[in-house]
């Protein structure tokens, strides 16, 4: 095999690879030996290309192509599906899409920028570093559009702590270890970099025991004229590499993220990058100062694929080329090979395109902040990427070939549970026991043990905090609200939603429900839903049933969003989340942004006073598929809650009008655990009890009334004196009178029958259970 490599220069390691002479077996071996993660057909395509050029490639060239063609960089399995359902929901508010993050118009002068991205594979190998660099990466995605990052979101999916050690495949880390690492990683990075972590999900399910999911989102704001494109569109512009130094950390990260885990596998630690928030923090300042002074022509962050991806994509977008001198790049380790320098995914780096007359001023700004800024090359007229290492030319490739990764239309099989619909009818439960069990489920309990480790108030603009209510007795918020501008009262509401339980049973309805929940969460805080970002986490796309899940999920996500004119302005796909051929539950995660006209009119979850009236908005159905109740008791049901978009829209509009009139004292959506849990969370945050009667909910079983997770529902608190006015505004929407607030107990009756009565203090204590 070594015969195929020829060393080109005695001084440093650059090799010619005689790919033209290789047979198919040898091509596959080459892909494995160099860690390229390319398949047979892709290798053949590379061979044909160099045969047509009549020369052999260098190792730098081969590595660059493999980077660009990885699933992570070119979405070769998912592009087709995304185009069909998710991309292209037309909306005038979309300012810019198809860049590193979505850019949406907020008012005449401002845009907001946001994105959510997965960091699953690295977090499974090195939870602390993987999660931390996930935060760092998403901040750069927002920053490189010229925007000031103002909030972080993280949606995390773990195996349960009691997952039997014996069932963990060899070499896999214990879920608790992963949990601790991921939470500390996010905490230590987010807190140090000074951006509040305001929202997220922490979900436990055995399906994630061997494949943790870490989805991190970031929101930023920017003046319209300061939005910077991720491209250079003229020759002669300086390429300035700023931020951290380049090292061996994060080599082949994208290739590694584009395949599955096997047990007993020793994954190269070098595939996980190391983050350093204390380089990032001043980098943010220096970049934003340069943006304000209009010194930057184009900008892109270095993430997956390193310099190779970033330079290639920036010049391709502007139809120019680039000439780069690799020896100029500041290194962490002196003896790095040219190919390693070119593809390293070391963190905290950004590429700035700066014109000659702005260069001096820019370098001075970076100097004050003690941040490295180095000119490493220039753009050129020819659409080529030309690399030098000292005097040797080590790469000369057409930009179009490098970025022309394959697109696959993989076979898919859709398994419709809906066609053979069934639902177990269980015996009537012991209500107190059932209520206790659900209230203490790790997916329902008080998340303050996580949330409070994150600084969610730094920057002083977190108006509605993730925990809200009476000091010391706070409950979960529906969404968080940030006030992004000093002199304006406009707010951005932020939420994140997903539902692995329903997705496992019916990905189409499950996905519709996830959009429904995002809308519900935003509306609950008196925000108008404005736009979405999706992060699709699935198993192995080469398995047709997994591709089927992806199709169904995309169809569901697209359908409801389109109905509400909610564009998906940015997205991310993470595939190959499987271990030993076992895929994760299909897990699309959404990040939803809503606009609050005046932050002082925000509505919160906690009950405001005694003797108010409580109403449920929209009906409850016998849709128990994927409910916590059925999941916990292992009752079977294929009937996953559906979404009636018409009904949801009407209710949303009515509810927002009622809020505008100040009629809604508090509001909570109904989701995990059903009505019983929503009522509890509203009571806990206020230390005010409730007297509830379920008789007016239409004719279904009492346990379904309390624990069904039907979509499109809210609970609202109304002043008795305003009841008539409320009912008038809600005309056209089904509302159900539930009872009154007051006292120190939660009492539930169905007609004359007593169902549940529990002291608020007890409820709080059960809800405060920390998973062990």
């Amino acid at each position: 095999m070594t015969d195929f490599y020829e060393r080109v220069d005695k001084r440093f390691p650059v090799f010619l690879i005689k790919i033209r002479d290789m047979n198919i077996k040898e091509l596959q071996k080459l892909s494995r030996d160099l860690g390229l993660s390319l398949n047979r057909d892709e290798m053949i395509r590379i061979r044909s290309y160099f045969r047509s050029l009549d020369r052999d490639p260098t190792d730098v060239e081969i590595q660059a192509i493999a980077q660009a063609w990885s699933e992570h960089c070119c979405y070769k399995s998912s592009k087709h599906v995304l185009k069909k359902y998710i991309i292209g929901i037309d909306s005038p508010k979309v300012f810019l899409t198809g860049e590193d993050a979505g850019v949406v118009e907020l008012d005449n002068d401002h845009v907001y920028v946001f994105k959510m991205e997965s960091h699953n594979h690295p977090s499974a190998v090195e939870p602390y570093g993987g999660a931390a660099t996930g935060v760092g990466g998403i901040i750069r995605d927002v920053l490189c559009m010229g925007a000031k990052p103002i909030a972080l979101v993280d949606s995390l999916f773990f195996g349960n702590f009691d997952y039997p050690e014996k069932r963990l495949p060899k070499g896999m880390k214990n879920p608790r270890f992963i949990f601790n690492g991921v939470i500390s990683g996010i905490r230590d990075y987010g807190n140090r970099v000074g951006i509040p972590t305001v929202s997220g999900i922490t979900y436990f399910d055995p399906g994630y025991a061997t494949n943790v999911l870490v989805n991190v989102g970031c929101v930023g704001v920017c003046r319209k004229e300061n939005v910077i494109r991720s491209m250079v569109n003229k020759p002669g512009v300086n390429l300035v590499l700023v931020g951290g130094k380049t090292g061996r950390d994060g080599i082949h990260g994208v290739n590694f993220a584009s395949r599955s885990f096997r047990s007993g596998e020793k994954v190269e630690k070098t595939a996980v990058q190391l983050g350093n928030p204390i380089i990032k923090e001043p980098l943010i300042h220096a970049v934003l100062e340069s943006v304000d002074k209009k010194l930057i022509h184009g900008m892109k962050d270095l993430g997956g694929g390193g310099l190779s991806s970033v330079v290639g994509e920036m010049v391709l977008a502007g139809n120019v080329g680039a000439e780069v001198h690799l020896e100029m790049i500041p290194l962490k380790e002196r003896d790095m090979a040219p190919w390693e320098i070119w593809i390293s995914e070391s963190q905290e780096r950004m590429m700035l395109a700066v014109e000659d007359d702005k260069l001096k001023e820019l370098l001075e700004i970076f100097d004050i902040w003690d941040v490295d800024a180095t000119v490493i090359g220039k753009t050129i007229e020819d659409e080529k990427l030309i690399l030098y290492y000292r005097d040797l030319k080590v790469m000369d490739l057409d930009t179009h070939f490098i970025t022309s990764g394959p697109v696959y239309c993989r076979p898919y099989r859709i398994e419709y549970p809906g066609m053979k619909s069934y639902q177990t009818i269980p015996p009537e439960p012991d209500y107190k026991k059932l209520f206790r069990n659900i209230l203490s489920s790790p997916n329902v309990t008080n998340k303050s043990y996580i949330i409070r480790q994150y600084d969610h108030e730094v920057k002083g603009s977190t108006v509605l905090k993730p925990l809200t209510g009476k000091l010391g007795l706070e409950t979960h918020s529906n969404s968080s609200v940030i006030k992004p501008f000093e002199n304006k009262n406009v707010g951005l509401a932020i939420t994140s939603t997903s539902n692995p339980r329903t997705m496992k049973i019916d990905p189409y309805r499950g996905s519709k429900g996830i959009v429904d929940e995002a809308i519900r969460n935003l509306v609950s805080s008196n925000a108008v839903p404005h736009s979405l970002a999706d992060n699709l986490n699935f198993g192995n796309p080469e398995d047709p049933s997994v591709m089927g899940q992806l199709y169904e999920a995309a169809r569901g996500l697209g359908e409801i969003a389109r109905y509400f004119d909610l564009p998906y302005v940015s997205g991310n796909v993470s595939l190959y989340n499987q271990t030993n051929r076992k895929s994760i539950p299909p897990t699309p995660t959404l990040m939803g942004i809503g606009v609050v006209k005046d932050i002082k009119s925000v509505v919160t979850v906690d009950i405001k006073k005694e003797n108010s009236v409580l109403y449920q908005i929209n009906p409850t159905f016998s849709e128990m598929g994927g409910s916590l109740y059925y999941d916990m008791y292992e009752y079977e049901s294929s009937v996953v809650p559906d979404v009636n978009a018409d009904m949801l829209k009407k209710a949303m509009e009515n509810l927002l009008s009622a809020m505008e009139k100040g009629l809604i004292l508090s509001c909570h959506d109904i989701s995990d655990g059903g009505l019983a849990i929503s009522l509890s969370e509203m009571a806990i945050g206020a230390d005010i009890g409730m007297d509830i009667n379920l008789a007016d909910i239409q004719n279904i079983r009492t346990d379904f009334k309390l624990f069904s997770e039907s979509n499109s529902r809210w609970v609202v608190e109304i002043d008795q004196k305003k009841e008539k006015e409320f009912l008038k505004i809600m005309e056209g929407t089904y509302v159900i009178r539930l009872g009154y607030t007051g006292g120190r107990e939660l009492t539930v009756k169905d007609g004359d029958r007593k169902i549940l009565s529990m002291d608020l203090e007890d409820i709080r204590n059960i809800w405060n259970t920390v998973p062990r």
């Binding site: 140090r192 923090e281 600084d455 108030e457 002083g460 108006v463 000091l471 002082k600």
Partner: protein, 267 residues
């Protein structure tokens, strides 16, 4: 001097991250706050003597990987120590919030019980007794003190947010009783952690386990002030955790108000 003539340097290095909201708060009161990077003072691009107040905001200066505030303190000591000492001797105001408090403690200028500047730190802000970073709102009650905001803070229980991993104020064990008594006699204790009714209780009301429930203090001359709670996060009514429950108190504003009034009178 007039409030609009008061110049305030918000000192920062890498990892300082509460400077924007602090600047906004002070600006909204009519003063002239500016961001000043330590490098700008070192390279003489700006001069400390042009300011009446030095404010070290919260954050994780230089990453706080060793002990909170120690690196920032070491850089100050190695560069602008003499300028800072003169600043303090001139009875100008030095305020440290959260990480800033940690920096002032590591510098040896807080608690400042016996000398204006101790060669070695006279106290420590140790890791919280919960042994973790905590971000939440807590209750406080002011003490009678020589701090410039003693008059402007209301005489009742009020609330502010904290967000730190190292905020447990401790004095040297062998001299603890003596030094604490001296602090009390000097009127150096600004405010203390309390429960909802105003009683001095332990964790979680005392969120870090501070000695004597101390949350904020000043040196013996009252011009160097440190506090763990964040006044800039309790400055506008809508920042209050319980704003939605009808609580529009803004204790952070009273703190800055007191300091600015003091400077106006003095200079």
């Amino acid at each position: 001097m007039k409030t609009e003539d008061i110049r305030i340097a918000l000192l920062r290095i890498e990892g300082t991250n509460c400077e924007d909201e602090s600047l906004n708060a002070l600006k909204s009161m009519g003063a002239r706050p500016e961001h000043v990077h330590l490098n700008e003072l070192i390279r003489k691009k700006r001069n400390l003597e042009d300011y009446q107040m030095l404010f070290i905001p919260g954050g994780f200066s230089a990453g706080d990987y060793i002990r909170a505030g120690i690196i920032f303190a070491a850089r100050i000591k190695a560069t602008i120590k003499n300028d800072l000492l003169k600043f303090i001797e001139d009875e100008k105001i030095v305020l440290g919030v959260c990480n800033g408090f940690q920096v002032l403690t590591e510098l040896g200028i807080l608690p400042g019980i016996e000398n204006l500047w101790e060669e070695h730190p006279g106290a420590v802000l140790a890791p919280n007794i919960s042994n973790k970073f905590e971000c939440r709102w807590i209750y406080l009650k002011k003490e009678r003190s020589v701090c410039p905001f003693n008059e402007t803070l209301p005489d009742k229980v009020f609330s502010m947010p904290i967000a730190h991993a190292e905020g447990r104020f401790m004095l040297p064990e062998n001299r603890e009783k003596y030094l604490l008594e001296k602090m009390i006699d000097n009127g150096q204790i600004a405010f203390r952690y309390v429960d909802r009714e105003g009683n001095f209780e332990g964790y979680p009301w005392n969120p870090n386990g501070s000695l004597y429930n101390i949350a904020g203090l000043c040196n013996m001359t009252g011009n160097v002030i440190g506090m763990m709670p964040h006044p800039e996060r309790a400055f506008f009514d809508f920042q209050n955790l319980e704003f939605w429950r009808g609580n529009s108190e803004t204790p952070g504003r009273y703190i800055f108000e007191g300091i600015l009034k003091h400077i106006s009178r003095k200079f």
